[in-house]
Symmetry: C2
Subunit: 366 residues, 2 copies
């Protein structure tokens, strides 16, 4: 009691007008710094592009415009799939990208973005911040001269657009399907012929029949590219992206030169951009899905037999990659242990709540 009343008296003045009592001080240097950010995403994919753009905006706002980052869409100063290289060699001070684009350099990098049958959004956020995820990934990115910060989630992605239905594992045989490299490595074992095609080139390839299907992101982004007009079956879930984590890559030397409080601003702005991106996707996807269905998209779940076959092949691919790379093994073992710990809990509180809420619309809702 005595302590509380002392505190009350001692701080009353400050409480009443903290700001006016303080005088401006200049001891802390806040230099003007100009950085460029290369994005792997086109401006038209505005939700995912917003991760880098919001980061830049937030950093500017938090430093009164002194730490200025200018974001450039994919290809303007660095090609979409060379952002890692651009940051590594200092062409740009930072970039906004998805690490699975660099699967060819090192499959282990993918754990920063998405891997088959991996984590959902909250699990990924938890593994990064209160598991070993970020710690291990920082070790890996350090070898690329990069400090990485989570900077956006998409949520679970869709399994993509197919010209024909997928009723069994046999339907995968010979299928020319545009998808990311890691899932491609899994699906090729089931007869799929994976295709690497940039976002803008997918539509014409589907239209001409050069490919039989393609995955991109989810309803909000897919609708803009008009896939429903050329491939009517829309499958879920994208088991290779329980979520996509996009990241801010910062060149190590550029980062080291920042005053400590600018480093803190960068980290907090990344977290704020992360929250905003998943909010944007979660707010926009529902209406986009409804519009796609109204325009003829046929929504389908992958059959359980197909999911099981893909899961079994994934486990084999993981084992092979783990045998080849100690860093891959370290990340995989950490992620799997974390995931297998999370799943039973997620089924309990969140899972049962979401499950029940899924029934109320059918009861007449409100």
């Amino acid at each position: 009691m005595q302590r509380r009343s002392f505190l009350k008296k001692a701080t009353l003045g400050a409480a009443a007008g903290g700001a006016t009592l303080a005088s401006p001080v200049f001891a802390q240097e806040s230099p003007t710094i100009n950085w460029r950010l290369a994005s792997s995403f086109p401006r038209s994919a505005d939700a995912i592009y917003s991760g880098g753009e919001n980061l830049a905006k937030y950093v500017g706002e938090a430093t009164g415009g002194k730490f200025n980052i200018r974001a450039f869409p994919a290809g303007e100063i660095v090609p979409a799939l060379q952002v890692l290289d651009g940051v590594q060699n200092g062409t740009v001070e930072c970039g906004h990208s998805a690490s699975y684009y660099y699967f060819g350099k090192d499959p282990a990098l993918s754990f920063d973005a998405a891997v088959p049958f991996g984590l959902n959004t909250r699990q990924m956020n938890a593994w990064m911040r209160h598991g070993d995820g970020l710690k291990l990934l920082r070790e890996l990115f350090k070898t690329y001269n990069i400090v990485n910060f989570p900077c956006g989630y998409t949520g679970t992605q869709m399994g993509g657009w197919f010209r024909n239905e997928i009723k069994s594992v046999d339907d995968l045989k010979g299928l020319k399907f545009r998808m990311s490299a890691f899932a491609g490595a899994v699906l090729s074992r089931l007869g799929v012929v994976p295709q690497q095609i940039a976002g803008g080139d997918i539509y014409p390839a589907l239209e001409k029949g050069t490919i039989d299907g393609a995955e991109w992101i989810g309803p909000y982004d897919d609708e803009k590219l008009g896939f429903n007009k050329v491939a009517k079956y829309y499958y879920f879930p994208g088991w290779w992206e329980g979520t996509l984590q996009v990241s801010l890559y910062v060149n190590q030397e550029a980062y080291n030169k920042l005053p400590k409080h600018y480093q803190a601003v960068l980290e907090q702005a990344s977290a704020a951009a992360t929250n905003d991106m998943i909010a944007k996707y979660d707010a926009e996807n529902p209406a986009a899905l409804r519009r796609l269905i109204a325009n003829g998209a046929q929504l389908r779940a992958f059959p359980k037999s197909v999911m099981d076959a893909c899961y079994a092949e994934s486990v084999k691919v993981y084992a092979e990659m783990s045998a080849k790379s100690p860093m891959f093994k370290k990340l995989y073992d950490s992620m799997v242990a974390f995931r297998d710990n999370e799943i039973p809990w997620f089924r309990v509180a969140d899972g049962s709540f979401d499950g029940y809420m899924g029934t109320i619309g059918r009861n007449g809702g409100k």
Copy 2:
């Protein structure tokens, strides 16, 4: 092509050494400001308490220690359930609290925290940031002289601890149950006698049999209070908290006095604290649940008949409250429209992914 090559040349110098080219400038005032933050949570509930403490830490780091917020646990300078009043009248510049504690002042405030059969974590984040949630709640909090910022999520909470099993709606009759006020208003219509008891007093009340059950948060927090020793049935889900959003309340005048970039820092630090809190809960709850079960807790799902009865009564309570308060109606209508739009989409990608992942442990996991 011409534009790109021009950009490359023009910014090469800055790219190579942006930090060293910049000279310190002092045009932007960064005054020293000292604030106090009153939390509604005890330090021992470290995950939820971390929202206010991390906010303070992050703000300090982002301003090089110039904007200094000191966090105080519940009761040290302001009683746990009077944080709203403390911020409103300027006893403290800011507070970290959950708006449903102020249900008695105005039930509409609860939409900032949790309402029966409301939103899950991602839906709440989306409603706040890309729906009308924050906009409407800012209107409401303005009448309390407060600017509010989302500052932490718990995830879906547990339905609580019961000395006896709940097998039907009849088992609710006469049950003395410690719970939050809004859910209490619903459950009292089914015969429950809701009890308002502070966290620290729940255990002895359960032990003595003064109450028949109690809800608190989830496995990580509940384990610390030892409820499993005095009430063995552990129910899920806490349908009154699809998530709990805790918020930073800032006194309007104190906020107005901040330089613009400190206001931005406050907002970004809140977002960063939000990400960290849900990550902490998602990382800690799984192991805590396992330990509770190992120590004798009997995990049970509320029967569907009980969930349906509670949902039906909630809808009636919502209608009555909406008839009495235009602001309540505005918030309720916005939340329900948002929720009912989200649910079908959440069942598709995230729901089917989580559902499948829930089966792999049983297939032998990794």
